[in-house]
């Protein structure tokens, strides 16, 4: 009951946002710069939300998300540029292959915990990057030409699908199991939860959406190069999630919007941008290690005014 009450306002809001922006773009009232920023925001939100599923919900500290972004970007570019198939197929192929890559990476490395998992995922992402660097079919270090196909419609549609799938996953029985893995892996194992299964599922799902974001990312620029998918890109995505609050989906969304806008305006001063980024990261971790929103969601703030009925739905 409660969920369906929440569902329709979100759908209406989403449709409204989409229609307003689309009308503005097609009327020519919004110039290239702003529409591009909006597309970039949508891509970054998809990335942030997909990593939020892995780190925030399942508690698996993966810091190699750019690797899956790279898989999605390159595979989708091959589909459109070499095989001349439609863009929608490219998005799906990018997502599916990234999910497969997520399975291949996840099954062995999710046996590791904490720091070791972080380093292993970082290493895997770097291996993926080096593999693309050495394949001449995709242009090696020089990169690959890609046509500009990402439009506001594609970006927004993918964004909405991502959020709906991840919110539903989080609220489902699987999501609750994943959260129990985050809270205490040994205890949830003892309660009969197949922790490996949930970790791998969350990892593959996160990789799938990273691949979708990769497809959009590749077709939003005119060229993709392996150097775009290094450590820094992974850390960028990680920063969205951490700043928003580990375990808060709306936090990830908000910080992705905020940081994309800030970094778009600081584009001309790359050093200043990185210094601000790192300072924000250090200060948030020192003074608010839970992130800006903690594990709260935006909707929780509205609930405060209502009479509380039983426990909250999203985390404590």
């Amino acid at each position: 009951m409660k969920k369906s009450k929440q569902f329709w306002p979100f759908v209406i809001a989403a449709v409204l946002v989409y229609v307003v922006v689309q009308v503005l773009i097609s009327n020519g009232m919004m110039n290239q710069f702003y529409s591009n920023t909006l597309i970039l925001i949508a891509i970054n939100i998809i990335l942030a939300v997909s990593l939020h599923l892995v780190i925030g919900i399942t508690g698996q500290f993966s810091i190699g998300h750019a690797g899956f972004l790279a898989v999605g970007a390159y595979l989708s570019a091959i589909v459109t540029m070499k095989l001349h198939l439609p863009f929608i197929v490219a998005i799906l192929v990018g997502g599916i292959v990234a999910a497969l890559a997520g399975l291949i990476v996840g099954i062995p490395s999710l046996r590791l915990k904490g720091d070791y998992l972080a380093i292993a995922t970082l290493g895997f992402a770097e291996i993926i990057r080096i593999v693309f660097l050495n394949i001449d079919y995709v242009g090696g270090a020089a990169g690959m030409q890609v046509t500009h196909l990402t439009t506001w419609t594609y970006a927004f549609f993918c964004l909405v699908v991502t959020i709906i799938v991840i919110v539903n996953f989080t609220n489902s029985r699987h999501g609750i199991a994943a959260i129990s893995v985050r809270e205490n892996e040994i205890a949830s194992d003892a309660m009969g939860i197949n922790t490996t299964y949930y970790k791998v599922v969350a990892f593959a799902l996160g990789s799938f959406f990273a691949g979708v974001a990769g497809a959009l990312y590749a077709h939003n620029f005119y060229i993709i190069q392996p150097s775009q998918f290094g450590f820094l890109k992974s850390f960028d995505i990680l920063i969205f999630v951490v700043l928003g609050g580990l375990g808060s989906l709306s936090g990830a969304v908000l910080s992705a919007i905020l940081l994309t806008v800030v970094s778009t305006y600081l584009q001309g001063y790359p050093e200043t941008r990185m210094i601000i980024y790192s300072l924000v990261l250090i200060l948030v971790m020192l003074y608010r290690p839970k992130g800006l929103m903690g594990t709260m969601e935006i909707t929780d703030y509205f609930k405060l005014w209502r009479t509380p009925k039983g426990g909250g739905q999203h985390g404590k």
């Binding site: 590791l112 720091d115 380093i119 450590f231 050093e271 990185m274 980024y277 971790m285 020192l286």
Partner: protein
């Protein structure tokens, strides 16, 4: 005798990795933190060495010692400002702070002096002599001997001095060490100081050997040194040395076999294999997690 030549190159590279890895392994052993900023301390050390040779006109050894001292201080400052508050925070918070500190140092240096690379001055004459048909430069010998001396010194500090004893105690059990009257904060600072001094020395040696330094040079050697530390068993000092040497030799041979573009991948493949099959490393003992 091509392979002897490659082996010597590999050992030189490996000894640089080993020096950085020692800092990682000591810090991890004592506060269980992957100090991502360690690679950047290495970079700062390299630049301090560079400026003390070119601007102040110091020789190699004074520059080395100055760089080590400055890096020791720098490491302690980083620890006091960024990591001390996070002693009891989650590991994820500490790791992310370390990433933040690392980015801050890199881009702080770029902000101050620009991103352009710098050519290290030639401090030794480029003489070499023949050994079993291989050309060994004076530089490699000197670099190798400096590394070996520093490692022996480290072993002496850790095993024969009071500070070393305190370090081992804190790393074994922080709470018990505190109860026995050991000043944990000072011991951790000393660990950071020693580890950072070694990274600074590695930075100067790296500059002399590879002749090109830039503000982002710490990233890849830093991660590889971490791989070396994991390879040998993290927290174990001889493990870091052996891991560094093995990694350096493997990398050099991968390049020598004509796969130079795959060189960086080799380190990560080793990392992942060791993490999957023997997470405790070559020298580590398997310990079961207690509930």
């Amino acid at each position: 005798m091509e392979w002897i030549q490659q082996l010597i190159n590999g050992i030189s590279l490996g000894s640089i990795y080993a020096l950085i890895a020692l800092g990682y392994t000591m810090v991890y052993g004592i506060i269980k933190l992957i100090n991502f900023a360690h690679g950047d301390v290495f970079m700062v050390g390299s630049f301090i060495g560079f400026y003390s040779i070119t601007v102040f006109g110091l020789g190699f050894f004074p520059a080395l010692i100055l760089s080590m001292a400055a890096c020791a201080l720098f490491g302690v400052i980083i620890e006091r400002i960024a990591y001390k508050r996070l002693r009891n925070a989650t590991r994820i918070a500490a790791l992310i702070t370390a990433i933040g500190v690392s980015l801050f140092i890199e881009y702080g240096v770029i902000y101050i002096r620009g991103a352009q690379p710098e050519a290290y001055p030639d401090v030794f004459s480029n003489r070499s002599f023949e050994f079993l048909g291989a050309h060994i430069s004076i530089q490699s010998i000197l670099i190798l001997s400096v590394s070996v001396v520093l490692m022996i010194l480290l072993q002496f500090i850790v095993h024969k001095t009071k500070t070393g004893k305190a370090m081992r105690a804190v790393s074994h059990d922080t709470e018990a060490a505190k109860l026995m009257g050991i000043n944990v904060d000072n011991t951790i600072s000393a660990t950071f100081a020693i580890g950072s001094a070694l990274a600074g020395a590695a930075g100067v040696i790296f500059g002399v050997y590879y002749t090109k330094i830039d503000p982002l040079m710490g990233v890849i050697p830093g991660v590889k040194a971490f791989v070396a530390a994991v390879l040998g068993g993290i927290g174990i000092i001889p493990g870091a040395m052996v891991g560094g040497l093995v990694l350096g030799v493997v990398e050099t041979f991968v390049s020598a076999l004509g796969f130079s573009l795959w060189r960086d991948a080799a380190a990560f493949v080793i990392l992942i294999l060791i993490l999957i099959f023997r997470p405790s490393g070559i020298f580590g003992k398997n310990t079961r997690e207690k509930v």
